[in-house]
């Protein structure tokens, strides 16, 4: 009787130990982060043009980011080649989860505003150059407010808006960025003026990442942005959002074609399409969601990621289009239109 009681006690002890060991294995975080395939979202859920039909042919592509995977997840990730596993850098470690969420919102909002400005400016120019008289007038009024801080090691906080540098105001992002770069190169003193009037002097070399902050005052045709849908973060939808708006403003009817795209929209003279993260995971997402085309930045034509896509013959399953700027993206879009619709 006593022996049985002891045996039961020992068994209970072993079970409790096993339970705790497995729970620890499932919870203990590793020093790795992961990106997995995500989903596609129709751009027409974000933008709505009044009195003009909004194109429903364009899709942004998202991935799922795991900021710190557990040891067990790290082990599992090695069995799935669609999952990108990377060691957390010093930069990643310096950010808290709420910082990352804030950054995602800043970049997303900036990319939405940049897309609207780029789309309206580009469409207006395109309309004038091609004498598209059947299309209603297109115009946009906006104000450039300054840099919004996305990342700063010290001196600044995420979300700070810099309206002046060395007491100089700027009317556009490219000029302000160029001015700051020249000051950094010549190692001159840098004095930032924030939107609340606070002045910050940068005394030593430090790293910053800024996004442009715009205030859109009026658009013709009137545009509504569904703010509730800005829950996800990141700037990678910039190019496809711009293309979607351009197609809607220029009344480009693409019927049932499904076009996904990824890449940022840079606010320079050519509206360059910038790099993004997780291209391989995005390609898998696009294939799974049965899109007809996938527009990506030209950078990936030669990058290792695209090599991986080619090696896995993913490009046989989807038509990948590489573009460097908005004009080229528009040309490709017209090619698609002529191939399928005309």
């Amino acid at each position: 009787m006593v022996n049985l009681h002891m045996k039961n006690k020992r068994l209970k002890f072993v079970l409790i130990f096993l339970y705790i060991a497995v729970a620890v294995l499932f919870v203990l975080p590793s020093n790795f982060q992961a990106i997995t395939p995500g989903n596609v979202t129709n751009v027409d859920t974000v933008f709505e043009l009044k009195d003009t039909e909004t194109s429903d042919n364009f899709f942004t592509v998202s991935v799922i980011s795991y900021f710190r995977v557990t040891h067990f997840q790290k082990f599992l990730a090695t069995f799935d080649k669609r999952i990108d596993l990377s060691k957390r850098t010093e930069y990643d470690e310096s950010l808290s989860f709420s910082d990352t969420v804030k950054q995602g919102k800043i970049s997303k909002e900036s990319s939405i505003n940049s897309s609207i400005i780029a789309a309206y400016e580009f469409s207006r120019k395109y309309q004038e150059e091609n004498h598209l008289t059947h299309i209603d007038p297109i115009s946009i009024d906006y104000v450039y407010q300054g840099f919004i801080t996305y990342y700063a090691t010290n001196y600044l906080n995420i979300g700070d808006i810099i309206v002046k540098i060395n007491n100089q105001s700027f009317s556009d992002y490219a000029t302000q960025l160029e001015y700051l770069r020249s000051l950094i190169q010549t190692k001159d003193t840098i004095l930032f003026t924030l939107d609340d009037g606070k002045m910050i002097e940068i005394k030593e070399s430090t790293s910053f990442i800024f996004y442009p902050k715009y205030l859109i005052e009026k658009t013709i045709p009137q545009l509504e942005v569904q703010k509730a849908l800005l829950a996800s973060g990141g700037p990678s939808g910039g190019m496809i959002q711009t293309l979607s708006l351009v197609a809607s403003l220029l009344k480009l009817n693409l019927q049932d074609l499904k076009i996904a795209g990824t890449g940022t929209i840079e606010m320079d003279a050519n509206y360059t399409i910038g790099q993004i993260g997780g291209i391989l995971q995005k390609t898998h997402t696009v294939i799974k969601n049965k899109m007809d085309y996938f527009i990506v930045p030209d950078y990936y034509r030669t990058s290792l990621d695209i090599e991986a896509i080619e090696m896995r013959k993913l490009s046989d399953k989807i038509k990948i289009i590489y573009v460097t700027n908005l004009e080229e993206a528009m040309e490709r879009l017209v090619d698609i239109y002529e191939e399928h619709i005309l």
Binding site: Y19, A23, F26, V27, T36, I64, L76
Partner: protein, 127 residues
């Protein structure tokens, strides 16, 4: 509706009279003990499967089914909690013939669960 009203009045009277409920032998302390133990035991049962699912969610097809997993786990948790609650009160629902008593038991349990959830939400909002 009439049943619920009578049951509530019945429960209130029993508390007022002698701090004894249901069968006249179970104290409020017993009920609280059973609820806490029921919740703890069910947490122990669902903790590992939940953590395993969280870990497996790194695979896209498991991640996409997350709402279903969460629904299943929450339901299993509720049913396990009810089961352990009755078990510790040394009662079996099917053995109880009286409808009012059955109703009372369920109401007590749901009320305790509701209070626990509120406390948990308040606690989590401070963390």
């Amino acid at each position: 509706m009439k049943n619920i009203f009578y049951s509530l009045r019945n429960l209130s009277n029993r508390y007022k009279k002698n701090n004894r409920i249901i069968d006249g032998n179970t104290t409020v302390k017993d009920v609280v003990y059973s609820v806490v133990l029921g919740l703890l035991k069910s947490i122990l049962w669902i903790l590992l499967p939940s953590l395993l699912l969280y870990n497996l969610s790194i695979y896209p097809f498991i991640y996409q089914l997350m709402p279903i997993w969460i629904y299943i786990i929450v339901n299993v948790f509720i049913y396990l909690s009810i089961y352990y609650y009755y078990k510790h009160l040394k009662l079996r629902v099917n053995e109880i013939k009286d409808l009012n008593t059955k109703l009372l038991l369920n109401m007590e349990f749901m009320f305790s669960l509701f209070v626990t959830t509120i406390i948990l939400i308040i606690f989590l909002s401070f963390v």
